[in-house]
Amino acid sequence: MTYAVLETMMVQVTDMTGGDGAMLDPQVLLDTLGVAMATGGEFAEVFVEDRRSTSALLDDSRIEELTSGRDRGAGIRVVVGETTGFAHTADLSPAGLRAAATAASAAARSGGSGVRVVALDAMSGPASALVEILPSDVPKARKVALLERADDAARSRDGAITQVTVRYADSQRRIQIANSDGLLTGDRQIRTLFSVSCVASGDSGMQTGRESVGHTIGFELFDRVDVEELAGRAAGRALTKLDAVPAPSGEMPVVVGPGGGGVLFHEACGHGLEADLVAKAASVFAGRRGEVVAASMVSLVDDGTMAGEWGRYGIDDEGRPAQHNVLIRDGVLTDFMWDRLRARKEGRESSGNGRRQSYRHLPMVRMTNTYLEAGDDDPAEILAGTQRGVYVAQLGGGQVNTATGDFVFGMTEAYLIEDGRLTAPIRDGNLIGNGPAALLDIDAIAGDFAMGSPGTCGKDGQGVPVGDGTPTLRVARLTVGGTAA
């Protein structure tokens, strides 16, 4: 139900800008930074983005549409004291950039006259991930054909499958970043995604099942993933739930299957370890570095370098290379995640977590691929040792209030555990817990690590692609939000 981490990644030769060829001429960037800093300020940055995307949708057994999109522009920020001024433009001509730089500078209300001229130092950053088959090189007909294969596979699984939606999407994002510290760098990020959603109908009403796979690779994704099998699993999930019983209500042990638990950590503590929220005392984990915050077998990592994974990139949206960042080691909180602005205030380096949805947005601290390291327990024994509880095989997203630590996550495939065995499937619902308490209540972690499904993380209105992974684990006590007495 999950995909092994891709271990091979070819290295490509990069040019001076570290990416896929320069987008804007360095002199134009330098001139723009000069305008941005003309009336003073501590920092200025130009972020250039060119994104091309294709998506194809099959619904109701019809190819409804094939969509091509193009978004290209630049975001310019200027920092003066505590204030960031920001402007963006889709006009990448020298005049358009100058206008945006002037607007950002005015927005920062820069009053000084500390003009600083910088020389851009073209940095050879980490190599952009090399993809084997660029999606833009693949004929549209081949993309569309995948949809029909998946539709057929889902419908042929069982006559109770009454509706199928299949989506294919790819994007190629090129970014270039120059700043007043002299940084000049770039990256090319390619993503390919495929998802199948099914509706099954029976005497108990309708149920849904979904499967998706997404990687930062090209069309070779489909050499590794069998879309028929993926569709079959989505259909199977909906069919299984036709017999689902109402979820239980109240506190009980919760076992989360391999690959399924990433959302739990993303919500229970991931957001709370983002330095921007920590700095505003809007996180229950503020001031707790060096303290025990989780059970001793918990080691949590955020890693933007994981080859092929959905949250992978060469450099973040501030030009900082992605890193492997240990957040919790053996239960002890080791570090938060940082972007440039927060790191600078603390006199340290960014951890490569400064991300933005597009050139139209300011960067902030975001997760990449967040995962729980494997433990020593046997998954079968974890289940056998659980008298009564819930087993969650697939999670459907979540939400957290980082200030209180209260978080929810949804279950889209789950079963009752009775006498140490899986019994009836249960209907969809949320679970609720409190982050700091849930981390301490983890009492078993297995060795069967797997990455989960590709996700989109939303924060302050910005969505960015993220990955996650876990082995099978058990939380001794969470509140299951069902309707059964």
């Binding site: 094939l66 522009g73 402007a87 109908s201 939400q399």
Partner: protein
């Protein structure tokens, strides 16, 4: 604005014979100011534009978009849209909207006063909002975000079938997210104010609401599990009504994804419930004169006295259903028209929230829900969301409660509405809120 229509008409003029072409052109100006600790944390000023082009030939649709109005890009988008249609499955109902003779309801949704507002004045509102929130109560320990934002948006739609529509709207919004602290415990609360021009905004009210909602949660405990009478405050009811509205889309019905598909004309909700989708109500934050296909928006009664009256349609789902569009095409420039509600509201009752609460011996007032995207299945109808609020004891608001879920099904909840308040309030979403009393929901806590 006429400039946008000119661009849209120019694109439509590129149609070959046998082709239908639709161009949607949008332009938006935005300002966003965030205040933190008495300073401007960030100030964003931005202008953005975009174009989406649909080309239909022989029942096949192709679509492409770009986030620019650069002339070269328009040509590329047109070429891509035309190329893409070759891969679609032919469909007899696939066609553009045609003028239907319904005139747009003239509304004053565009205010010069917003355009005239200086950046300094916007900054001052954000700073005032933070200061007033902090000073509203000694237990307010910080303001995670205090924000002023506004937008001036214009759009135009033109088609080879004769649609020519333009619309423009202004909107502005204040929001504060307060942190309250006592005895090492932190709670949060949200306050906001919205309008079409600066004069509509009430900084003090937004600050007071954020402070009130955060401080009243201090000392919150986890409630016991069980079935209980639950009161939704307007903020919460609007979120649920938006989800209910989504199940009444003609597309969901035709594709077998609406739990109300076969129930037109039947009683699906308590008889006190009348639900209307009315984007022609200028009080709605999401009011608009024309829909995503350029047809006039109109008032659509969805539920009347608990009976299911109608589904909403765009021109394609209407043709498929053998009816007419309800002016309910929803889209941005980067997508083809979907179908959806835009401004749903329950017809309010005549009792105040306090009056409704006074009649409840044991229950919960819900002031916030979480996980609507992960815990609501609009196809099966199951819902379960995280919640926080206040206990109701003997008709009075009592201790705060948190870290629990409320659960039922959409079908059951609509029938379990036992009372509706008189406090209808338009919110920054596609629904208005009003206090709703739900006779029974399952509460999962301790």
């Amino acid at each position: 604005m006429s400039e946008l229509l000119e661009i849209a008409e120019r694109i439509v003029g590129w149609a070959d014979s046998g082709e239908q072409v639709e161009a949607v052109v949008v332009h938006e100006r935005e300002t966003e100011v965030r205040a933190y600790e008495g300073e401007v944390e960030s100030l964003t000023v931005a202008e953005s534009s975009g174009v989406g082009i649909r080309v239909i030939r022989d029942g096949r649709q192709g679509f492409a978009y770009a986030g620019t109005l650069d002339p070269d890009a328009l040509v590329e988008v047109m070429r891509e849209a035309r190329d893409n249609l070759g891969f679609a499955t032919p469909d007899e109902h696939c066609s553009l909207a045609v003028p239907d003779g319904v005139a747009p309801v003239g509304m004053d949704l565009y205010r010069d006063a917003l355009l005239d507002l200086s950046i300094d004045a916007k900054v001052q509102m954000a700073l005032d909002l933070e200061r007033l929130t902090l000073s509203a109560d000694s237990r307010i320990s910080g303001v995670e975000s205090a924000e002023y934002s506004d937008s001036v948006s214009s759009s135009a739609v033109a088609t080879t079938t004769g649609i020519r529509s333009t619309s423009r709207e202004t909107g502005c919004f204040l929001s504060a997210y307060a942190l309250a602290e006592a005895g090492g415990e932190t709670q949060t609360g949200f306050g906001f104010s919205l309008g079409r021009q600066p004069g509509d905004l009430d900084v003090e009210a937004a600050a007071a609401e954020a402070a009130e909602r955060s401080t009243r949660m201090l000392g919150a405990v986890k409630p016991p599990s069980g079935r209980m009478t639950v009161v939704f405050d307007p903020w919460v009811s609007a979120q649920f009504l938006g989800i209910v509205g989504g199940t009444l889309s003609g597309e969901a019905v035709q594709k077998g994804r609406s739990l109300f598909a076969d129930r037109l004309g039947e009683d699906v909700a308590a008889p006190i419930l009348t639900l209307v989708d009315d984007p022609t109500d200028p009080a709605a934050y999401t009011a608009t004169e024309t829909d995503g296909e350029g047809l006039a928006t109109r008032r659509n009664v969805l539920l009347a006295d608990g009976r299911l009256e109608r589904f909403v349609h765009n021109s394609e789902t209407a043709r498929r259903a053998g009816t007419v569009s309800t002016g309910s095409a929803v889209r941005g420039y980067s997508s083809t028209p979907g179908v959806g509600i835009r401004a749903v509201a329950v017809v309010p009752g005549d009792r105040s929230p306090a009056d409704l609460i006074s009649g409840i011996r044991d229950g919960l007032l819900i002031q916030g829900v979480s996980g609507l995207h992960s815990g609501v299945n609009a196809v099966s109808g199951d819902f379960s969301t995280g919640a926080e609020g206040l206990r109701i004891r003997d008709g009075e608001l009592a201790e705060p409660v948190r870290e629990f879920t409320i659960a039922s099904t959409i079908q059951k909840m609509l029938n379990d509405v036992t009372a509706i308040g008189d406090d209808l309030q338009w919110l920054p979403m596609r629904a208005a809120g009003v206090t709703l009393v739900i006779g029974e929901l399952t509460v999962s806590g301790v």
